[in-house]
Symmetry: C2
Subunit: 424 residues, 2 copies
């Protein structure tokens, strides 16, 4: 049996009955251990950082990798926040009585074993483990090789915390291998991995989705649009545009393309271009946009599909809501889309017509976030339509089961058509 | 572009705005067309039946394939029932106000394009199309080659009904090919198929799950257990046992294995064996079971994992709830599991410990069914934990999106940790 398979077997053992064990106490103990083992953790992290420096890894990536006592304290504070959230397990989501008298309840239950495949930042190690454990599942972590020593130290502390609270330490495990084949072993372990969540860049997510034979939730790619409709308050549109593009350009809920209604392009575009340039944003426009914004570089077809994650913005002039919907249907990634408008019918048509996780009327796309949505935590932002869409908190990290309680009821012959009667 | 790809492109076109069109009127018109075109449909079906007879297809399969005017009327009645169900779209599943004042609503929206890959029975063609259309999605059907002519005739009638009601006929399409490569084309059409649902035997489901690169819901394999706990009312246990095994052995919610608590094995097993034999059930027992039931054939290891779908039952003696849970954890398929008990703690331990879509206390596994659960319809029974578990009705055939309505809110700098800030 491969290392990953035996690790997963242990995770499957550990997950049994996890929901009934003191998970919150384990999170508290884990935070204590992280603080107590701060020196070892920071030393391990320093070795990761030194090795990556030597390899010539770019400084922004080094910064993502780096831990210090203040960042570690932030990680512990995150554990405290997850602990304080209400338990997602055991919630009766629905319930009714069958005509023959059985009580049927739909109850939130754990997934089982949840794997997370992620890049670089070691805080994800603790954040993901905490959320998955809180949701009653065992957690299998596969971080990047650049953070391997940091992750080992962090997971050792977490596991010590679990044990201290009487939980099986195998409920949190690290795939301790830089070998790429370990990713494939995770992705194909049907029956051993109940869910895999990729977190990282578009390349990682594509690899996971294309190779997974286990259930997967696709996250994070955001090609987000702002459409400024003809009736828009242009001042408001400008603020939402700058916030969406400039406040934090490297994240998935940032804006990548501005769509401007033809009727107001002459009034809006010159102002928008001035404001964007003042913030250092590089612009790429279609032909129409460039007539109102001289000096803007010509956009290529590829620009409409590019998630820049940088201070770059594509600009296109479109004909009304219909034009905006057609562009978004073709190029959107199903993440977050925004209209600025004063027209109720336009707002409704946009919300009804956009197939994305979050559709905004007169508010910034930057709000697509588990904390902003009030979930108290977030394991990622789903861009698929199965199971979870948009920010995923604890509610999205559980499954459910039907619990039926009777007093001897059996099924009679049923005159109704029934799919169960047709299926193998 | 392949035939399947262009068909899917048309389906993607057709699905846009489908939620706002008169779907119920289309279902009504479809039923009218099915009745009006009864002769063509039955003639096409007769050709399928004749060809399969010639090929030597076994008679039970021929019977599944065969349509007559009464079965067709049943199909039309099914359409009427789906039409009468409440619209699953537009339901506000949750809603709240962000501290900055935006209204956030979580609203049920269509999946988009849903593909169904199924075997034999032509009634599935109409049932699946009706449910998916009612749920606002376009439907792509891939039936078995044995029913190809029947399916063509049925889909022609459905499409005529759609057109009559002003819906795009491409919202229901048949993959009109016996070629296996068309299945693969469906399963790998990322971005064009939003969900694929396999319906049929274990082999079909495995093929779909292993080859799908699009989101899939695994359905239908049911290796269901009945555990008779020591405190059980043995009369009740017997009734639930016979109902589960005998009433309709060929379906996924039928029982396949009986687990008997060691303490009551001497009292229960001889009675159970007599009753089962009286119903013509073939029995295969472990060594302990055979001591209480002479003449029962020895079970092999494979028996514990076999979904017989026939009048065959495996029997095993186990030690209490823990023994039953261990057996079910190892051999269950996550469908339906039953305990018969008078002991509250045993009932609770069983419901908490079994990881299956439906867990019964003192009631028959045969109730795991969308109609019995009151959903009014069923597209299948999910045995996976992502998105839907157990019987899937209209509520499970929709996705959701967040609709955020503000008056110009932008995001400030946020001191909280935020996954969106870390992700590409």
């Amino acid at each position: 049996m491969s290392d990953v398979a035996s690790l997963l077997q242990r995770a499957q053992q550990a997950r049994r009955g996890l929901g009934a064990l003191p998970r919150d106490a384990a999170l508290e103990a884990a935070a204590r251990r992280l603080r107590a083992q701060q020196d070892q953790i920071l030393e391990a992290n320093a070795r990761d950082v030194a090795r990556e420096r030597e390899r010539g890894t770019p400084e922004p990536l080094i910064d993502r990798l780096r831990l210090d006592s203040s960042r570690l304290e932030g990680i512990c504070e995150g554990l405290r926040q997850v602990r304080a959230l209400p338990d997602p397990l055991g919630r009766v989501q629905d319930g009714w009585t069958h005509p023959q008298g059985m009580r049927i309840e739909r109850v939130a239950v754990p997934f089982g074993v949840v794997a997370v495949i992620y890049e670089s930042r070691p805080n994800v190690t603790v954040d993901a483990a905490a959320l998955i454990l809180k949701a009653g599942s065992a957690c299998v972590l596969r971080g990047s090789s650049s953070a391997l020593e940091s992750n080992r130290a962090l997971v050792a502390a977490l596991r010590a915390g679990l044990e201290e609270a009487g939980l099986p330490s195998d409920a949190v495990q690290l795939v301790d291998s830089a070998d790429r084949s370990s990713v494939n072993a995770l992705l194909t372990a049907r029956g051993l991995v109940d869910l895999v969540i990729p977190r990282g860049g578009a390349g990682l997510i594509r690899t996971v989705v294309e190779n997974a034979r286990v259930p997967v939730i696709e996250t994070g790619v955001g090609n987000c649009h702002l459409f400024v409709e003809r009736s828009a308050d242009l001042e408001m549109a400008l603020e939402i545009l700058i916030n969406g593009k400039v406040q934090r350009p490297g994240v998935c809920n940032a804006l990548e393309t501005l769509l401007v209604d033809r009727e107001i392009a002459p009034a809006f575009l010159p102002r928008a271009v001035r404001a964007l340039r003042a913030h250092g944003v590089e612009l790429r426009g279609d032909e129409d946009a460039r007539t109102y914004a001289p000096g803007v570089e010509a956009a290529s077809d590829a620009d409409w599909d590019t998630e820049y994650l940088d201070l770059i913005l594509a600009i296109r002039v479109v004909d009304g809501v219909e034009g905006a919907l057609a562009h978004i249907a073709r190029h959107g990634s199903g993440h977050s889309e925004v209209i600025v408008t004063r027209d109720l019918a336009a707002a409704q048509a946009f919300q009804d017509g956009v197939d994305a996780a979050a559709v905004y009327v007169n508010a910034s796309s930057r709000f697509t976030d588990g904390f902003e949505f009030g979930f108290g935590a977030e394991i990622g932002i789903s861009t698929q339509k199965l199971h979870a869409r948009g920010p995923m908190g604890l509610r999205e990290l559980v499954s459910y089961q039907y619990r039926v309680t009777g007093h001897g009821q059996i099924r009679g012959s049923n005159p109704q058509p029934s799919a169960a009667q047709e299926q193998a």
